[in-house]
Subunit: 540 residues, 2 copies
């Protein structure tokens, strides 16, 4: 067989040739843009020529600090398309972490959205490798700024070459992208994506039983482009010719709902927090969401009540998926098997609330205290994964040896697997509550609490216990109007029929909000400190 | 990213783990077998251990002479799974060609269906490399035969190890399979399939806009397993957990129709001849074909009337695909784009009769007499393709340099491409009719003739002409009951409104049958000789 490499640039070439009329619809600060793939392709080529003129060479890192929009999409293909490396930077991280990331990755150039300019102005004296800045804006004049040299994105494109070629002489194992995990402790850890990894992952997203991304889709990734390549959707949707809708900077649930209706969105993707917000918006407004064939949910486990609301109330199919920055990210997706269609509605919902079965192309195993656990839906263990779109190390980071062992990525997630091979996240290894020699899943308790009608959000953490080692404490944020209407005992009674007695939380605390990470996950480290402070327990 | 290779064996491991309950339904000479993937997996492992015990080593060729059934499927995974090479042999070829193929490939062992035994007994004195024979049968006793040594497949499995491991230490570029093209002239040419090629091709078959092969499918490949791996379906269907229905030896249209109804087949695949036969059967019987979501048709261009009958009369979606032995085989597939759904029924049918757009992962170009032709649906040129599941040479064959040039496979097919990138086969380079400096597509004329209600099959070939260089002659096989009811002039009048005057055939000959190759394609070389003999034109 021919030794043709799997390359990111080839995906855009395919879109230019076969989907030239299909559109990318992009909301920027000022404008709603509509561009065809033919135009996006030309603009990507112009950008490649501009990067080359600015001295960007093979292997150089191209940093982005940007929301979801067409310009960000163009850099997704232009950087790897000319042999450089797309480095998407999480704009929600602390300035210290952003400085660390840019210097650690050795970014040569930064592409910046205009509203992120003030942040970069503040930190730029600390940046050691950046040689040029590019501002992405609909305005033709450059802002007054201390950043030097600063280029205007659209001017670079105007001066560029619309016929500049995508490189075909790259190795498919060459780096194409980078993303740092938003670690909850310590410095962020970098993951490098190869061309091969991104292309194979895109194929998985296109599988009928994967993401089923199709030309007939109108896809709106809500998950940020700075977070694991928006789960790879911009790559897959371009390759397969889907219409793309990019909600742009600082979108609201109202904008998401309006875009779904206006552009007849068929598939959208994001974390549970986004869908909780959208659900509230749908309950307020009268939106037509009938075009939606799939809401992809990942990042954290979605509560059963959320899935039920989407599926039963709004008739929107809701797909749980699982992955991580280290896994490009798709690892499992929840789909009923054909013979599971005969289950009762409730059993189906239970099954759908699991994280699903492994995507073809990867391998998994689950390791408990005595080696591989049985797939019986009971035994818990840490999930290990392996495959061509799984990282084999953190970028220049000694912590690699803690997560990448004997050829497997140790996810840090505790799971059970049932006889169908369907995986369920039980907890993070570090969040699992160890009580009296048994394990208690904080996630199971949270999901049960979130199914209570009064609960907006709930999180469960351990506090040290002299007798039992650890005991669970539930933290609950009530929905509007329920304040003072429900008590601790109401919740304990609600949980009692569902769990063994030793699982029941020792206390229920009512909070105004659960602290979250920059990508919307519960920040349990901080919550644990809050809870311990509440009980006047000293931290270790 | 991890350097885990793409391997054929891993696809069966995935099925064992995640689709253990799903079934392979297999018709052999004597029995209808139903096995789960768990059982097929164990049997495949037993077979790998048997191959190892028989001395088969990495890179050795394992020949098969067999119909479509579960044992053939097991060899599909066992041979590459333990590092050997699956070599499927076309049982419809001449004994001379079969001898050539087995010796040229240097097969070490042959797996033979019982009804093919007489053929092998005849030729085995000429086989220079085969060290052992295995007969696949439901009978427990060995037949009386001169083949030595001869093993019984089921006995080998009984003695084998159900836990024998698939090899993970192979290079993805190692050979996994082989198939020889049924050349119409000269000796057959061998194509070697790599693990990488087969795995990537399987992903293409699983794409929502590719074959969309899914766990929810019940797939019945009618295309023989000895012909380009049954278009790769046994690999993809196993990996993605589809139920497989294998129609077994010497099936009839009646059996195909009955199996579709009985097993609720959702997807089936084969050449136009098969579908013409099935159509006649459907018109006779009262079959429930409502489960079918897709009939994949390739090998030759399907006449418009055939597509219309399936889609309009039986409401069965009919997908034209294109490929070759050298291309694993999927290259293009015909699917309407979302915005083409607004076309009239007739325009849609026209579009669907084209061979479709390129599958993601490949590249194509079309070369006319002056370099790349424009994609305007007018200019004709030869189709060139490139990609990781396209062969880069014929196996140890000097003719490689005629077809594999500058990194592209020259298909020998003349095509046009429209502005949508949708490709249409116009002819084989060697069958194109050159008349008065213009090109006439024999395939276009054939398709038009086959849309006539009286026509069962039609083929058009050139005869030499002193004035025009070549002129077309139409050869028609009438449907039963139409003999003597239609004349040459009827057909010419029928064609007149559809074509330029110089395209109209100089004559229409009525034949009892069109000569065909062993895989059901028109054998134009032989037909041309017949036609020339009819006109008493001397062959060159």
């Amino acid at each position: 067989m021919m030794q043709t490499p799997l390359l990111v640039g080839s995906m855009m070439e395919h879109a230019e040739k076969f989907f030239s009329k299909k559109e990318v619809i992009s909301q920027t600060h000022d404008t709603l843009h509509r561009l065809t793939y033919k135009e996006v392709g030309h603009r990507t080529r112009r950008l490649m020529s501009a990067l080359a003129r600015l001295g960007i060479e093979k292997g150089d890192k191209v940093g982005t600090l940007a929301w979801n929009h067409h310009r960000h999409l163009e850099i997704y293909f232009a950087a790897p398309g000319m042999g450089a490396v797309l480095h998407t930077i999480n704009i929600r991280l602390s300035p210290e972490h952003i400085i660390y990331i840019i210097n650690h990755a050795e970014d040569e150039i930064l592409f910046i959205d205009e509203d992120i300019l003030p942040l970069i102005e503040k930190i730029h004296p600390h940046l050691t490798t950046v040689k040029a800045y590019v501002i992405m804006s609909d305005k033709s004049t450059l802002p007054d700024t201390t950043l030097q040299p600063l280029y205007n994105y659209e001017q670079l494109l105007t001066d560029g070459d619309p016929a500049y070629p995508f490189r075909h002489d790259l190795d498919e194992n060459d780096p194409a992208g980078m993303c740092y995990t938003s670690a909850t402790t310590g410095k962020p850890k970098g993951v490098v994506y190869s061309h091969r990894g991104i292309v194979l992952h895109s194929l998985a997203l296109g599988l009928a039983d994967g993401g089923a991304i199709s030309e007939s889709d109108t896809a709106m990734p809500v998950v940020p482009q700075f977070h694991v390549n928006a789960w790879g959707l911009p790559f897959a949707c371009t390759w397969f010719g889907s219409t793309q809708v990019m909600p742009g900077p600082r979108f609201t649930p109202q904008r998401l709902a309006a875009f779904i209706e206006r552009f007849r969105v068929t598939i959208t993707a994001g974390v549970p927090t986004i869908w909780l917000g959208l659900l509230q918006e749908l309950e307020k407004g009268n939106y037509d969401t009938s075009s939606l064939r799939s809401v992809l949910c990942g990042g954290s486990a979605a509560p059963l009540g959320l899935i039920r609301a989407f599926e039963k109330k709004y008739n929107i199919p809701f797909y749980h998926a699982y992955g991580a920055t280290e896994t490009t990210p798709l690892v499992t997706i929840s789909r009923l098997k054909s013979y599971q269609q005969d289950l009762s509605e409730d059993e189906k919902l239970q099954e759908r609330s699991r994280q699903g079965i492994l995507v073809p192309g990867l391998e998994m195993k689950v390791i408990g205290s005595d080696g591989e656990v049985e797939w019986n839906d009971e035994e818990m263990g840490e999930l290990l994964v392996r495959g061509p779109w799984i990282a084999d190390a953190y970028y220049r980071d000694e912590r690699s040896e803690l997560a990448f062992i004997d050829g497997w990525f140790h996810t840090g997630d505790v799971v059970t697997v049932d006889k169908e091979g369907t995986m369920k996240i039980v907890d993070r290894t570090k969040d699992l509550i160890k009580s009296g020699g048994e394990w208690i899943s904080s996630v199971d308790l949270e999901n049960a609490l979130m199914a209570h009608e009064a609960v907006f959000e709930a999180s469960v953490v351990a506090i040290p216990d002299p007798e039992w080692q650890e005991r669970p404490i539930a933290c609950v944020v009530l929905k509007e109007g329920y304040e003072g209407q429900v008590t601790k005992d109401d919740f304990i009674q609600f949980l009692e029929p569902q769990f063994a007695k030793y699982w029941l939380p020792d206390d229920v605390l009512f909070l105004d909000a659960i602290p979250k990470t920059s990508v919307g996950k519960f920040l349990k480290r901080q919550l644990r400190e809050q809870v311990k402070a509440h009980y006047q327990i000293k931290s270790e």
